[in-house]
Structures are given as C-alpha cells and as structure tokens.
C-alpha cells in the first residue's frame, strides 16, 4: 500500500530497499504461521505434564477439548453476531451489549421459575422443552425491546458520533448493572436445560454433556437464519446495502430509520438469546455483563467489526483458545492461560489491524 511504504521509510529514517521492505511486511505473517505450527506440534506430540497430555497419546481428551471449544464458540457467535450486526449498519458500538445479555438471562430465569412453580432446586426432570423455550423468547424479547428503546431515546439523534454513542451506552451499562444488582441480588442464579437434552454421551472414553452440543446446534440454527435473512430477504439486502453506503440507500427512498430500529432489535435479541443460553450453560451473576462485553469485543476485534463472517471466525478462534490453553499448559502454569487470549489478539492485530474480515474506512 502506498502509505505503508511512506511509513516504513519514516521509521528507518531513510529509504529502505524494496525487497527488504517486502520482507519486513511479511514478517508478522510468517511469525503467525510459525506460532500456529508450534502450537499444533505442542498439542499433538509434546504436551507432557499438562492436564490433557499430548493428543496422540490421549485422543479422547483432545476431542473433548475441541468440542468444548466449538460449543463455546457457538455461544460466542450468537452474542457477538448481534454486536457486530449493530455496528456494521449503524457504526454504533453498543457497550451495553453485555447488560442486555445479563438482563435477558435474569428475566428468563424468573420466567422459568414461574413456569416450573419452584424458585429453587429446579431439577432437569422438572423442565420440559417449553419451560426452556418460552423463557428464552421472553428474555430475548425483553432485551430486544429495551435495546430498541435505548436506540430510539439515546442513539437515534446522535447517529454517526461513534465515541459519544459508545460513552452513552457505557453509562447505560453502569446504571443497568447497578439496577440489576438491586433487583436480582449478587448471587449466581441458574437456568436449567430441558430434560430432553440433559444426558451424557461417551466419546472415546470421555463423558460429554448433550446440553453443550444442543447449545452448538442452537447457535448453528441462529447462524443459518441470520445468513438467510441477510442474503435472501429484501430487508437483508437493504441492510447490506446500508453497511456499504448508507446515504445512497437513504437517497433511494428507503426508510433507513426503520431499518436501523429493526437491526437494533435483532442485535439486542441475539444478545438476549445468548444471555439465556449463557445462563443455562454457566449461570447468570453480577459481573457476567462485563465478561460478555469483553467476549463480544474480543470476537469482533479478531474477526473485524461489522462482519458476520468475521464473527464466525473470531468466535471459533477465541473459543478454541479458551478451551485449549488451560488444558494444554503445564499443570503448574494453568493460571497463565488468560495470557493466550492476549497473544491471540496480538497475533491477529499484528497482521491485520482491523481484524481478519474488517475494513479500514
């Protein structure tokens, strides 16, 4: 790129010969490939003294870790796709995404308690499919409605002022977190999976919970539905056109304000769905909002803001890193696994500052 050459010359103080500059530019890419190769060799053959052991000698643990990564990636995708959908069209970074996630989880738990008729010690046998699906829809719809209200009241009139919108949604997330703490208390609550999916499979000698696979299935259904909506319907086409050139869409006489509201509804609905799945998977507690804002941010920073493809890629990479790093680090260093999230981020950003599928504007 033109400006890249200028910058490199600036860094060196002098003109750098073309081949050397090319090598410099390829260096991060080569580094990433080398790092991937090393990680693969380590996991497959060398990882002795780790909780899981090398994959060739314990394939069961490897497959289970892989499944853990994939199922978690499914949940990540549901949440982050809502985040990236909103940004892609409106350039709004919704910092309250995690709050919508948590609120929906709490509401769904309340609804499930009311439907089952118990407030504590709900067992999987008490829960039918409807006792899970109805709370899911109620919780996600509540999050979606709140999302639309926030968009109409606080974001509609300052469209385009990205940082101001980010700070407004940050303030909203602080208020929501505090009010949820007041309403739902500080203890972790749990949503219960329906009894139909609460079983264990045996995979290569390892027990594996069906509910995690169910979570992955839901995520795939959501992903396919989202893809069909965006590519096969008129509204999806308008949204994609709006991502590329908002003012042109407006000039063609399409009511983009309505499209904005619908997109925000869908984005917040996805956050809410993810919230209910997350509450079933790991429980809902104060602090999950921040953790899931972080998760969404990491996924979209890796994948590229505004790109659904990027959300898939980012979820997979981040999910796998989260699953593999604690299992394949030497046992006494397991607590350093958080560093690998940072390493993943650093590797991606070193090669592509705007994420894998992101575009500089």
């Amino acid at each position: 790129m033109k400006f890249g050459a200028v910058t490199e010359r600036g860094a060196g103080g002098d003109a750098v010969p073309a081949t050397q500059a090319g090598l410099l530019r390829r260096l991060p890419g080569l580094g990433v490939r080398l790092a991937l190769l090393l990680a693969l060799v380590w996991v497959l053959f060398l990882a002795r003294g780790t909780p899981a052991g090398p994959a060739v000698s314990d394939p069961g643990r490897f497959v289970v870790t892989l499944l853990d990564g994939l199922t978690f990636a499914g949940l990540l995708f549901v949440v982050a796709s809502g985040f990236t959908l909103i940004f892609g069209l409106m350039r709004t970074v919704n910092m309250a995404h995690g709050s919508l996630f948590l609120l929906s989880g709490f509401i769904a738990i309340r609804v499930q308690q009311a439907m089952v008729g118990k407030t504590r010690n709900i067992e999987a046998v008490d829960v039918g499919v409807l006792d899970w699906v109805v709370p899911l829809l109620v919780g996600a719809a509540a999050a979606a409605l709140l999302g639309v209200v926030l968009q109409q009241v606080f974001l509609r009139w300052n469209q385009g002022q990205e940082l101001r919108q980010a700070l407004i949604t940050l303030a909203i997330s602080v208020v929501l977190a505090d009010q949820m703490l007041r309403e739902f208390g500080g203890l972790a609550l749990r949503m219960v999976w329906p009894r139909e999916v609460t079983h264990f499979l045996t995979i290569l000698g390892q027990r594996y919970a069906t509910s995690r696979l169910f979570m992955l299935a839901v995520a795939i259904v959501v992903g396919v539905a989202l893809w069909l909506w965006l590519t096969r319907t008129r509204m999806g086409m308008v949204i994609r056109a709006g991502v590329d050139d908002e003012s042109m869409v407006r000039a063609l006489g399409i009511n983009i304000t309505l499209i904005f509201a619908v997109t925000f509804f869908v984005g917040a609905f996805l956050a809410g769905m993810g919230g209910v799945m997350g509450a079933s998977f790991a429980g809902a507690a104060t602090g999950s909002d921040g953790a899931w804002l972080l998760n969404s941010l990491v996924v979209v920073i890796i994948g590229g803001l505004g790109s659904i493809k990027g959300a898939v890629a980012g979820s997979l990479l981040y999910g796998l890193v989260i699953a593999f790093s604690p299992s394949y680090l030497p046992s006494q260093y397991t607590f350093y696994s958080i560093i690998f999230t940072f390493v993943l981020l650093a590797l991606v950003l070193a090669v592509r500052p705007y994420g894998l599928f992101g575009r500089a504007e």
Partner: protein, 377 residues
C-alpha cells in the same frame, strides 16, 4: 516564554489555586484532606492521562487504570519482605519504585505498539479489552497477586505521614498539569496533534504515525504508574477487584465528567466523583427518593448519561460555554493550537477546530480509522 504569557489570567488562577491547596491542610479536617483531597489528586492524575491521550492523540484509552494497577502490584511485590501473597522480593523502597515504573512503562510500550495502528472506536474497544485481560491476569496468576491481592504495603519512609502523601499528590499533579500542557507545544506534541487531525497527511509528510502514538501511550502509562504508586501507598493494599471493569469505567467517567478535552477537567471530575462518593449519603433528601449509598453507581451513571447527552465537553466545557455567552473568549484552550489548516471534512468538525480543537474527538469523521499505514495485504 514572554512575561505577557506568564501573566496570563489562566496562569494567575493556577498559581492562586496551588497556593490555596498548599495551605488547605491547616484549615480543614484530616478526613477531608485524607479521604477527599488526596484521592482527588490521585484519581485526577490518572484521569489526566486519559485527557492527555484524548486531547493530543484523539485516542480514548480505557487501559489507564490497568497501568495504574500494574504499578501498584509491582511495587507491592517488590517492596514487601514477607507477606501472605506476592513475590516478597524485599527490595528497598526506591528500587521498588524504579522497578514499578520501569515495568509500567514497558507494559505501556508493548500495549501501545499493538494499539498504535488503530484509532477512534477501535482503540477504545482494544484498550477496554486490555483492561479486562489485565484484571483476569492479576486475579488468576497467584504468584503475583491472586484474587486476594497484595496487602499491608507501606509507603516509603519519606511519605509516612498522611498529609505528606497529600503534598506529594499536589506537587506531582502540578508538575503533570504543567508538563502535559508543555508537551503540547513541543515538536513531538505538535506532530501528535497533527496525527490526531489527519494521520494520512502526517504519514505522507514523513512522520511515523504508529511510533508517535506508541510513545504518547507510553508517556501516559508512565504517569498513570506514578498515580498508581500514590494510590497503593494511600490504600496500603491492592487487589484485582480495584482494576476490574467497573473501576475502569469510573476512571473514564471521571475524565468525562470534568471534560475530556481539558486537563483541568481531570482533577475537577475526580473532585466531583470523590465528593459525591463521600457526601452524597449525607444529603437530607436522597434516601427518601431511594438513592442510598449502595445505588451510588446508578447516580454516577445517570450523571454521565446527562453530561454525554447535554454537553460532551463535560463540566469544564459548560463553564467555557457560559463564559462564551458572557461575551468573553474562553481562556481554556491549549497554549498553541495546531495550525488551522487541518482539512475540514464536515461542518461540525470545522466549528470544533476553532475553539475546542478536541471536540473533534466526538465528531464522526476526524481521525477515525483514516490510517492506512502499511501491512494490510
């Protein structure tokens, strides 16, 4: 610097304010000095680094509290001889101080290098991710801290008495305030402001855009580290919860309350925050409308929401605007404005360039993602 500029009204106010603050401990209670003013100075110092990056670099950083915390953790680990947790290196205080500041600067350099090719909203998100990863790092890595944090950290003997910590905060705040403003007039600071306004043009003029951003981030990290040292001496302990996402947002909120494009705003915002934190519950009417101390975050959140909705320039911006209404030119700009030739891409930004150059931070098109330096294949 000419006499005329030295005698400018802003400088006179600054010196008078310093004088008042210097004699303040003789007139007010120990509680006020220790729990309101010292905290104000520490948090103001940390928030000033956010203002510095935002004003000169157009980068809103959420990683400053992480760096603030890193300094505290490093000092605690290095200075303690025997404690329940941490490395307990038992080094002399001044070695521990140097070590903490060196680590903070190195971390800031690394994080800055990684973030230096992004701006605007990307930078905000990336630094938020830094902050949260940092929190998890200290919460999980037991040898350095673990969830309980490092406790019973004593300040160096020189700063033993509580009032001395106040004076240390005052002197450092004054130095940083003057220093940050002075940086704006150096070639480095001017280049940084040029990069804020038009990175592509600066790159084509031969300036190394990522390097400037990285160095600015390191300088801000160093100062945040100093604030973090004061904090750990004042607090006597540091735990990961104190750098979690909530406090991270609070520090940004402090900068926003005061006005994110004015250095005065950092300390003003810190004062408003700390005072509200200490005295809100003492107001007679608040518990009747359901605001107790436990709901403090809601109050702060609503306050920030109001400020962002009404006036993104914060309290200092409101003051400047009122002055503007009274027909006087606001005296709050930086000493030297960047050359007015910055390309104007829309009317909002054009207006911003005149009076408060960094209103531009909130405009849509300025400096956001315009960077195209290299490596995109």
């Amino acid at each position: 610097m000419t006499t005329r500029r030295l005698a400018a009204p802003g400088n006179a106010v600054f010196v008078a304010l310093l004088g008042v603050l210097a004699v303040l401990p003789s007139f007010t209670s120990d509680y006020f000095i220790n729990f309101v003013m010292t905290r104000t100075l520490m948090l103001g110092l940390a928030a000033a680094t956010i203002v510095f990056l935002s004003t000169y670099g157009g980068m809103i950083s959420l990683a400053q509290l992480l760096l603030f915390g890193v300094a505290g953790f490093m000092f605690g680990n290095a200075a303690l001889e025997s404690g329940a947790r941490g490395l307990n290196l038992g080094w002399p205080a001044w070695v521990a101080i140097l070590f903490a500041l060196a680590v903070v600067t190195a971390v800031a350099l690394l994080l800055g290098a990684l973030a230096s090719r992004t701006t605007g909203i990307y930078f905000l998100m990336l630094t938020l991710v830094y902050g949260v990863i940092g929190f998890f790092f200290f919460a999980q890595v037991v040898p350095v801290s673990g969830p309980g944090g490092v406790t019973s950290i004593a300040p160096p003997a020189l700063l033993g008495a509580e009032v001395r910590l106040y004076y240390a905060g005052l002197v450092l705040s004054a130095l940083v305030y003057v220093g940050f403003r002075a940086v704006g007039t150096t070639p480095f600071g001017l280049a940084l402001q040029g990069i804020r306004d038009d990175p592509v043009r600066m790159a084509s003029l031969g300036f190394n855009v990522p390097l400037h951003r990285m160095l600015a981030f390191s300088l801000a990290g160093f100062v945040a580290g100093i604030a973090g040292l004061l904090n750990v001496w004042w607090n006597g302990q540091i735990d990961p919860a104190s750098i979690s996402i909530g406090p991270t947002l609070i520090l940004l909120i402090i900068a926003v309350i005061g006005g994110i494009s004015h250095f005065e705003g950092a300390w003003l915002g810190a004062f408003v925050y700390v005072a509200a934190n200490n005295y809100l519950r003492a107001l007679p009417f608040v518990d009747r409308i359901g605001i107790t101390e436990a709901r403090f975050n809601s109050v702060i959140g609503v306050l920030v929401l109001l400020i962002m909705v009404l006036s993104p320039e914060g309290l200092v911006g409101i003051v400047a605007r009122v002055r503007g209404w009274r027909g006087r030119r606001p005296t709050l700009e930086r000493p030297i404005e960047p050359a007015p030739s910055a390309p104007v891409r829309d009317a909002g930004v054009g207006a911003a360039d005149q009076d408060h150059a960094s209103t531009a931070t909130f405009g849509r098109s300025v400096a956001l993602d315009e960077t195209m330096e290299g490596t995109d294949p």
